[in-house]
C-alpha cells in the first residue's frame, strides 16, 4: 500500500488544503508520496517534514503583501509581470530553512513540485531523490526556486529560472493543476487529492472590464478545466483496469490459459496497465466556490477555509474512495 497526497493550485485557497491535511493526519493517514502544484508546492515540503501546525501558522499569518507587491504603471510596462513576487521569494526562504531542507532530503517521502518549462512547453517535476539535471533537487536553492516557479502564475507573477542561465519556469497549473499522474506513476494505491475548486464553476454576474479581473476569471476557467481533466485521467485509469480485469476473466472462460497469456502479453503491443493496481481515489474539494480569488491572502478568511477543508476531508473519508 502506498499513500499519496496531491494538492492542486489555488493561491490562498491552499488554507482549505491545510485544514484537510490536518484532518487526514489526525486520522493517522501518512503519505509516501506528496505532489503539489502552485500553492500545493508551498504546502508539500511541510507535509514531508510533518509540520502541520507550523503549516497552519503560515497559512493564517501571511497577508497579500507577504506574497506579491504591486508594481507601478511604469514598472508594469518595463517588467515581465503585473506583480512582483519578491515577497513570496523571501517567504519561501524564511519557511524552508537549511534545517528543513535537510529533513526533506533525508525523508523517505517522495516529494514532487510541478512546474511548466516555458521554453520546452512541457511539465517538469522537481523531486528530492532524483539525481542529475532533469528535475533533480540538488541543493536548497533549486528547491526554493522550484517552489517559487510552481507558485508564480504567468503574466501576474514573473517567470523563474530555476537554474542560473537555464530555462524559465512558471506555475505548473498551466498544464497540470492536480498532479495525480506523477503519483500514479510512482505506484500510489491510495490517492488523496485535494482540489481547491468545486466540481462546477459558479456562473458570474460580474462585468469584466479590468484586465486583472478578466485574467483572474480566465485563470479560474482554465484551472477548473485543467483540474477536471487531471481527475478524469485518474478515473479513466481505474476504469481501464476494471475493464481489462473483466475482459481477462471472460477470456479465461473462452480460451486456454496459454491463449489468454498470449492475448494479454503481446510483446508487440505491451499492456500499459500490466502490474498496475486499482486506485483508491479520494477527491477532497469544496462544495461551493471558496470566498477568495486566490490572490488575496486574508488570515480571517483563510482560518474559515481551514474548517471547510477539515469538514471536506472528513466527508470524503466517510464516503470512501470513488467507485468506477
Amino acid at each position: 500500500m502506498k499513500n499519496a497526497l496531491v494538492v492542486s493550485g489555488g493561491g490562498s485557497k491552499g488554507a482549505f488544503a491545510v485544514g484537510a491535511i490536518e484532518r487526514l493526519r489526525e486520522k493517522k493517514i501518512k503519505f509516501d508520496i506528496v505532489a503539489g502544484t502552485s500553492t500545493g508546492s508551498l504546502i508539500a515540503p511541510l507535509v514531508v517534514t510533518d509540520e502541520i501546525q507550523f503549516l497552519r501558522g503560515v497559512y493564517t499569518s501571511v497577508r497579500t503583501e507577504d506574497i506579491i507587491r504591486k508594481r507601478t504603471v511604469f514598472d508594469i510596462l518595463t517588467h515581465d509581470s503585473i506583480y512582483d513576487s519578491n515577497p513570496l521569494w523571501s517567504l519561501i526562504n524564511t519557511v524552508i530553512t537549511a534545517e528543513r531542507y535537510q529533513k526533506i532530503i533525508n525523508s523517505a517521502v517522495e516529494m514532487f513540485i510541478t512546474t511548466v518549462n516555458l521554453q520546452k512547453g512541457g511539465i517538469e517535476y522537481w523531486n528530492q531523490h532524483t539525481s542529475g539535471d532533469g528535475g533533480g533537487i540538488l541543493d536548497r536553492t533549486t528547491l526554493l526556486r522550484a517552489i517559487l516557479a510552481s507558485a508564480c502564475q504567468p503574466v501576474l507573477m514573473p517567470n523563474v529560472r530555476i537554474k542560473e542561465g537555464g530555462n524559465q519556469f512558471t506555475d505548473g497549473g498551466v498544464r497540470e493543476c492536480a498532479p495525480l499522474s506523477i503519483a500514479i506513476d510512482h505506484g500510489a494505491t491510495d490517492l488523496y487529492s485535494i482540489v481547491l475548486s468545486p466540481e462546477k464553476l459558479e456562473p458570474s454576474n460580474e462585468t469584466y472590464v479590468f484586465i486583472v479581473k478578466t485574467f483572474l476569471r480566465f485563470l479560474d476557467l482554465m484551472l477548473t478545466e485543467v483540474t477536471e481533466n487531471d481527475i478524469s485521467k485518474a478515473v479513466l485509469y481505474n476504469q481501464a483496469i476494471v475493464y481489462l480485469d473483466k475482459l481477462q476473466k471472460k477470456a479465461k472462460k473462452m480460451l486456454t490459459t496459454a491463449q489468454v497469456y498470449e492475448l494479454f502479453n503481446d510483446p508487440k503491443n505491451p499492456n500499459p496497465f500490466s502490474g498496475k493496481q486499482l486506485l483508491n481515489l479520494y477527491i477532497i474539494r469544496p462544495l461551493e466556490e471558496l470566498p477568495t480569488s486566490g490572490l488575496e491572502f486574508r488570515p480571517f478568511e483563510m482560518s474559515q477555509m481551514m474548517v471547510l477543508g477539515r469538514k471536506a476531508a472528513e466527508d470524503a473519508l466517510k464516503k470512501g474512495p470513488l467507485t468506477v
Partner: protein, 159 residues
C-alpha cells in the same frame, strides 16, 4: 474662424504625436526587464513573528488559537465571543496557565474559545521541540492569539 483654424491646428498637432507615443510605448514593451530574485532576500516579516518566541512551538500555539477561534464559529459568533472576552480582559490577562484560561472561559460560558485552546494544545502536543514546556509562555501565546483574533475580526467587520 480663427478659433476653428486653431482647433484644427492643435488637432493635427495631436495626431502627429500618435506615432511618437506609439514608439515610446513600443520602447517600454520591448525593454521588459526580467525580474531578478535576490540570492539573499531581505528578512521576511514572518521570521520576526516566529522569532518573538524562544521556540516555534509557542508560535504554533499563538497562530493555532488565532485560526481556531476565527474559524470554528461564524463571523457574528466569533465577534460576540471575542468582544465579551475583551470586556473581561483585565481578569483574563493575569491568568498564567492554559488550565486557568480554559477554566475561565468555561465558567464564563465562552465555550468555543475554551474548545479552540484545547484543540490547539492537543494538535501541538507532540511538537514541543525543547521538551521543556514553559506554561507561562504557553498561556502568553494563547493570549496573544486571542487578542490577534479580536483585532482581525474587528478589522474585517468594521465599516
Amino acid at each position: 474662424m480663427i478659433q476653428s483654424k486653431f482647433r484644427r491646428h492643435s488637432y493635427n498637432q495631436s495626431l502627429k504625436l500618435i506615432p511618437f507615443l506609439t514608439v515610446v510605448v513600443m520602447m517600454f514593451l520591448s525593454s521588459c526587464i526580467e525580474t531578478r530574485f535576490l540570492e539573499y532576500p531581505e528578512s521576511h516579516r514572518l521570521l520576526n513573528e516566529i522569532q518573538k518566541w524562544p521556540d516555534e512551538y509557542y508560535w504554533n500555539i499563538e497562530t493555532g488559537v488565532f485560526s481556531r477561534v476565527l474559524g470554528n464559529s461564524t463571523v457574528e459568533q466569533s465577534k460576540s465571543l471575542l468582544t465579551q472576552m475583551v470586556q473581561d480582559w483585565d481578569a483574563i490577562v493575569v491568568l498564567d496557565t492554559s488550565e486557568k484560561l480554559i477554566n475561565y472561559f468555561q465558567e464564563h460560558n465562552l465555550f468555543p474559545i475554551a474548545e479552540a485552546i484545547q484543540e490547539t494544545l492537543i494538535a501541538n502536543a507532540e511538537q514541543e521541540s525543547t521538551g521543556e514546556l514553559n506554561s507561562w509562555l504557553q498561556a502568553k501565546a494563547i493570549k496573544v492569539g486571542l487578542i490577534n483574533a479580536y483585532d482581525e475580526i474587528m478589522k474585517n467587520t468594521s465599516g
